[in-house]
């Protein structure tokens, strides 16, 4: 029995190509059915995400099965010059283990792909499209991914400014449920950060912007409240996280102003995320007890640091994966062809 893998991903195909190959949920069952008709192909799993479309299958006559798969895809996409890669057992198993561990992702170490793989496998299994080889292969891949995650630092830290800010909020407050956020300046990045915080359980979002209508629109879309920019400090009571991204040419939050506001805030920490350039918050604010100020540079530096840590971990991950590839192939050798 041979494990086959064929597909395209963010490295070898542009989004215009990937979207032609994409297999939506609504057409998954029919596509799996159609694939099962390919001569020599036993069982299939289709992984279709925004960054990759991959077909995993098992076959006793790989050349014929791969030819059938090519023919099927040409028919389906209308592409005669298919850009996809195809592998037989060893590279296929290695590829799947690397994908599951996040090593083949656009952002190394991201974990979303594991959930997507599980979903793809469950869907295929649910439609009766998998066999004992594919079952074993995917279960092994999930185990490898878990081990890579726990034994290496490949998922360490966050790799974008927004996610670093959200992670830091977690390091300050723990559970974000019930926390209050104020957004000064309704920019794109501040909106994204605010949305991420809301998805992590933040209770109230107050938005203030020079153009009140814009503040109202953003507040409306994330279930918050809008206040006039001239009165933002009056609504500051009990705010835990302040996100600033105004276009003001000078700091609007100074140490003196904040110390006055914080007189009734002594107990709880205040996390300030300054996304504005030029900065909205006077750096001296960071010296106030219980106040943690992060600007674009510091957030970017932490994100870069995480990427570097992840890159240095790749070698350890590859070694771990290689060991598991060997184990899986040994298992395959001891379980000769039994398609079901």
């Amino acid at each position: 029995m041979t494990i086959l893998c064929a597909g395209i991903n963010h490295r070898n195909a542009a989004v215009e190509v990937r979207e032609r190959f994409a297999v939506g949920t609504h057409e998954l069952e029919a596509t799996l059915e159609r694939m099962r008709l390919i001569d020599g192909l036993f069982g299939a799993v289709i992984v279709s995400t925004c960054n990759r479309v991959e077909f995993y299958a098992s076959s006793v006559c790989p050349l014929r099965a791969m030819e059938g798969l090519r023919h099927f895809l040409t028919e389906r996409t209308g592409c005669t010059d298919l850009p996809f890669y195809s592998h037989d057992s060893l590279p296929s198993v290695r590829h799947l283990f690397r994908v599951a561990s996040g090593l083949d992702s656009m952002v190394i170490g991201e974990t979303e792909i594991l959930g997507q793989l599980k979903q793809a496998y469950n869907a295929a299994a649910g439609h009766g499209a998998t066999n004992s080889y594919l079952n074993k292969l995917f279960q092994h891949a999930f185990r490898v991914a878990k081990q890579v995650r726990t034994e290496t630092r490949i998922t360490r830290g966050s790799t974008s400014v927004g996610s670093v800010a959200v992670e830091l909020a977690g390091k300050i407050f723990g559970d974000l449920g019930g926390r209050k956020v104020m957004v000064l300046g309704a920019g794109d990045t501040s909106e994204r950060v605010a949305r991420s915080l809301v998805s992590r359980g933040v209770r109230t979002v107050i938005v203030s912007n020079r153009t009140f209508d814009r503040a109202a629109a953003l507040a409306d879309s994330i279930g918050g409240l809008a206040v006039h920019f001239d009165h933002w400090h009056t609504a500051f009571d009990e705010v835990d996280i302040l996100i600033c991204s105004t276009a003001a040419p000078h700091p609007i939050v100074t140490r003196e102003k904040l110390e006055k506001i914080l007189q009734s805030h002594r107990e709880r920490p205040l996390f300030i995320i300054d996304l504005a350039v030029p900065r909205d918050v006077d750096p001296a604010v960071n010296a106030i007890d219980n106040v943690y100020l992060y600007d674009m540079d510091s957030l970017e530096q932490i994100a870069r640091q995480s990427i570097e840590v992840r890159e240095t971990e790749v070698i350890r991950c590859e070694q771990l994966i290689e060991r598991h590839v060997g184990e899986f192939l040994t298992w395959m050798r001891h379980h000769p062809s039994m398609p079901r």
Partner: protein
């Protein structure tokens, strides 16, 4: 037998501590099973050792500085097992084991008399007072450790550089809560210990009494200031660490002086 039990407990903690250092060097500060296992092993051996000493003395073994150091190491470990999981601060163990190890090493290496003191007639209230006082000091020790963790995390967050410590330490808000609660817990236990001491008619005009009274009053003021929101979490953490240092310096010295009399 006692020698082997105590040496076993110390070796357990040294192994756990060495393992933690290796993990920290590798950038992992998350508590591993080894650290927990070493603490459980040391606690079990120490419990047996104290029990054997108690059998010989026919009372709670608290009558020499050697006893006090062992009992405090035992009480600190016990409180960690009770409190660490309740506050989801399993990392507290990484910081607690060095303190317990220090107490055991002090007991082992300092030129102290190890011979159990056989009991004459002993007042159970005094024993209760002494045991509770040491458990209270164990709670203060854990509060001090939570305080150290708070200060480290505060520094990491203020530095804005990220790094392993930042990711591995618990959220600063949880550390502040644990720090305050442990101080309160220690104060309540110490108050009960004092009450038991008064019931037993303990001597009040001694250096030991007044030092304990100063410690009780200091923690009382700390709790009061926290209660009325006059003291910020950072200052509370600093004061709890300072108070722990004071206890660690004065308690053995005073116990040594009283044993010598």
């Amino acid at each position: 037998m006692e020698f082997y039990l105590l040496t076993g407990a110390t070796l357990c903690l040294i192994a756990g501590f060495a393992h933690t250092l290796v993990r920290v060097y590798a950038g992992k500060l998350q508590p591993g099973r080894v650290n927990l296992a070493s603490m459980i092993g040391a606690f079990a051996l120490l419990s047996v050792d104290l029990w054997l000493r108690g059998q010989v003395q026919r009372s709670c073994p608290l009558y020499s500085l050697f006893d006090v150091l062992l009992f405090m190491a035992w009480a600190t470990s016990l409180l960690y097992f009770l409190v660490g999981s309740a506050y989801r601060l399993s990392l507290l163990g990484t910081f607690t084991s060095p303190l317990v190890l220090l107490l055991l090493l002090l007991a082992q290496l300092a030129p102290l008399s190890r011979a159990p003191v056989p009991a004459a007639a002993r007042d159970p209230w005094i024993e209760f007072h002494a045991a509770l006082s040491l458990i209270a000091y164990g709670a203060f020790a854990l509060a001090g450790i939570a305080g150290i963790m708070f200060l480290v995390q505060d520094r990491q967050l203020k530095k804005r550089k990220g790094g392993s410590l930042l990711y591995n330490l618990p959220p600063i808000t949880e550390l502040a809560v644990a720090n305050t609660r442990l101080i309160r817990l220690g104060l309540v236990i110490l108050t009960v210990a004092f009450a038991a001491g008064f019931i037993s008619g303990m001597q009040v005009n001694t250096l030991k009494f007044w030092t304990s009274a100063v410690i009780w009053a200091a923690y009382g003021i700390l709790v009061l200031l926290r209660q009325i929101h006059t003291l910020a979490p950072r200052k509370t953490a600093i004061l709890s660490v300072a108070a722990l240092a004071f206890i660690l310096v004065t308690l053995p010295a005073i116990q040594h002086l009283s044993s010598a009399k």
